[in-house]
Symmetry: C2
Subunit: 353 residues, 2 copies
């Protein structure tokens, strides 16, 4: 039955099993491009939504009422665990999180508290439980967290991150402080993701959104061991793990070694080449440029099908954008994309690679 | 004699000839990290400097008084030809150029005037002549221009370019307007670069700084033909051509096909892998992360030598950062970097790749 297929499609693809059609979800699918989300945000500040289990469920479900998506993703933000470990921040409109006192010294790292999910973020875990209840198994729910490096870049820079200078300066000049900070963040991320799985998240994505700022050599020295620790500690969690980055074409081998059942890739590398770099035995998620959603439905379809042809019908592909959907994206474009992905049948397509 | 070697080192490397040591220059070497430049800018606005041949020469020569660099690069900005073709802009502090009326329609493109270097930018050409006079052959002078795509992204976006949405929307939705705009810009860039060579520039760099925002497929469709035209029209100019991009690991084959005697690469790809992608018969420029200059002299030396080992002593490598030097970079770091590059002898290094 179609409903059952939809419920299983995403998780099957994560496990590398054959599917009736390629599953699709969209990063930031519960976000500002949705009129109903913008309307809600007129009445509630971002952090008020992110701290209210009922509103978390409301927003998480919003895109599923409009679109034939194959997964839900928890409405939250990668910065939410920071307050629990003692890093104060505010979310500023059009600027993202601003850390009051950027973390740059050994003393500051030592003062960080261990993260306790049930103490620090009960509303997120309750939000997951309520969302699962309300989803009634229609599609799986994905939980997520920022990766240690991406969180570190926020807490070291403080605000803005144009060239990641402060982050790299800490890495290069005080490697012991850097690794101590990454240790704390890796522990935090692993605990947070595990608690999300225990609360009912059926897959977990770790966002290393800014990791593409690093040379491959620096990634291997300063990041990979900490990301690998997160995946190691989640091995018993029993849910698929997605390891996402952008600008990461030259890091894909290293990211795959660090862990993840699926590796997320952006549009800067053709999907088939990315999959070769990731290697056998793992899936891939991606990789349409979010800006394509500002084009015509015909071009959206053409570009989506080009990606699906590169995937070649091989099990283990989850369709997604290469980064979060942009504010201002037309609703009709999202509909057109999902239709284009779902209508595609690998075995009947001309121009097969 | 050492002075003669220094005068020839950069051009020899551009021609793929053996050199006594790897030449180095630094993108934005005449920029805000220099105290004497900041001091000058207290008295003169950016555009006042960029429009005064004598000040252009002063600033171009500033870094050469401090450092043992192997080339000078003209002090200017990639946006300077825009006013000549009828695109008004202002330079705003910490924001870069702001275009008053972003170009997004066929009518706007049709209204653009042909670029005439001697009419539109006489001060740049005179600045080149004066700089050459004052250099007295000590080191060669590099001229430059923005690439058609990078200029297009400025004039289409208007200000800021976080996700290049307007640029890509024009590309995808109005391809005829896009190609007409790129035609005009390619003509402008080719004329401007040729006039710089005629005025005395001894090498030319085309900056496609933002091209790494594109998928390889979009680069090939929307950018490569126009960049190739620029290089084709410069074939008779008789000076080496450098084709620079960032975030371009997956575009290197295409960029090399479009043209350039040297291809510039950032730090996101190891130099030897980049050179393999570029292919035989061409040189390479790069590729140290500018943030490394915030580390200790020891680490700067180690990272510079690692790049030189990857170059393997093969003729055709010009050392540079992977992008412009950052404001705030310590002067001592620049000295340390240049010493590290010049002291390196490929045939005596341990850890040879």
């Amino acid at each position: 039955m179609a409903v059952d297929e939809r419920a299983e499609r995403f998780l099957k693809a994560c496990r590398g099993e054959p599917v009736d059609r390629t599953p699709i979800w969209i990063m930031r699918q519960a976000g500002r491009y949705l009129p109903e989300y913008r309307e809600l945000r007129l009445r509630h500040a971002f952090m008020d939504v992110a701290r209210d289990p009922s509103l978390i469920a409301d927003v998480t479900l919003m895109p599923l009422r409009r679109f034939d998506l194959d997964a839900a993703i928890l409405f939250s933000d990668i910065t939410v665990p920071l307050a629990g470990i003692g890093i104060d921040f505010t979310i500023e409109e059009n600027q993202g999180p601003v850390i009051q006192e950027p973390i740059r010294t050994a003393e500051q790292v030592e003062r960080l508290r261990p993260f306790e999910p049930e103490r620090d973020l009960p509303w997120v875990l309750e939000g997951i439980r309520r969302t699962r209840d309300r989803l009634e198994g229609r599609v799986p729910l994905i939980g997520f967290a920022g990766a240690p490096f991406t969180l570190a870049s926020y807490v070291v820079e403080g605000r803005g991150k144009k060239d990641f200078r402060a982050t790299k300066e800490l890495m290069y000049s005080q490697p012991a402080v850097w690794h101590a900070l990454m240790d704390r963040l890796a522990e935090t991320v692993a605990r947070f993701l595990r608690s999300q799985a225990e609360a009912g998240a059926q897959a977990l994505q770790m966002f290393d959104s800014w990791v593409g700022q690093l040379s491959p050599e620096d990634y291997d020295s300063f990041v990979a061991p900490h990301s690998a620790r997160v995946f190691r500690e989640l091995q018993g969690a029993g849910v698929p793990l997605i390891h996402f980055g952008t600008d990461s074409a030259m890091l894909l081998e290293s990211m795959a070694r660090a862990g993840g059942d699926l590796i997320g890739v952006d549009w800067r590398i053709p999907l088939d080449q990315a999959w070769s770099r990731i290697g056998p035995g793992r899936g891939i998620q991606g990789n349409l440029d979010p800006c394509v959603l500002f084009a015509s439905p015909e071009l959206i379809r053409e570009k989506a099908h080009a990606i699906l042809r590169r995937a070649g019908g091989r099990p283990g592909h989850v369709f997604n954008l290469g980064h979060g959907i942009l504010p201002g994206t037309p609703i009709e474009s999202v509909t057109a994309l999902i239709e284009a992905v779902h209508e595609f049948r690998a075995d009947t397509q001309p121009g097969w690679l």
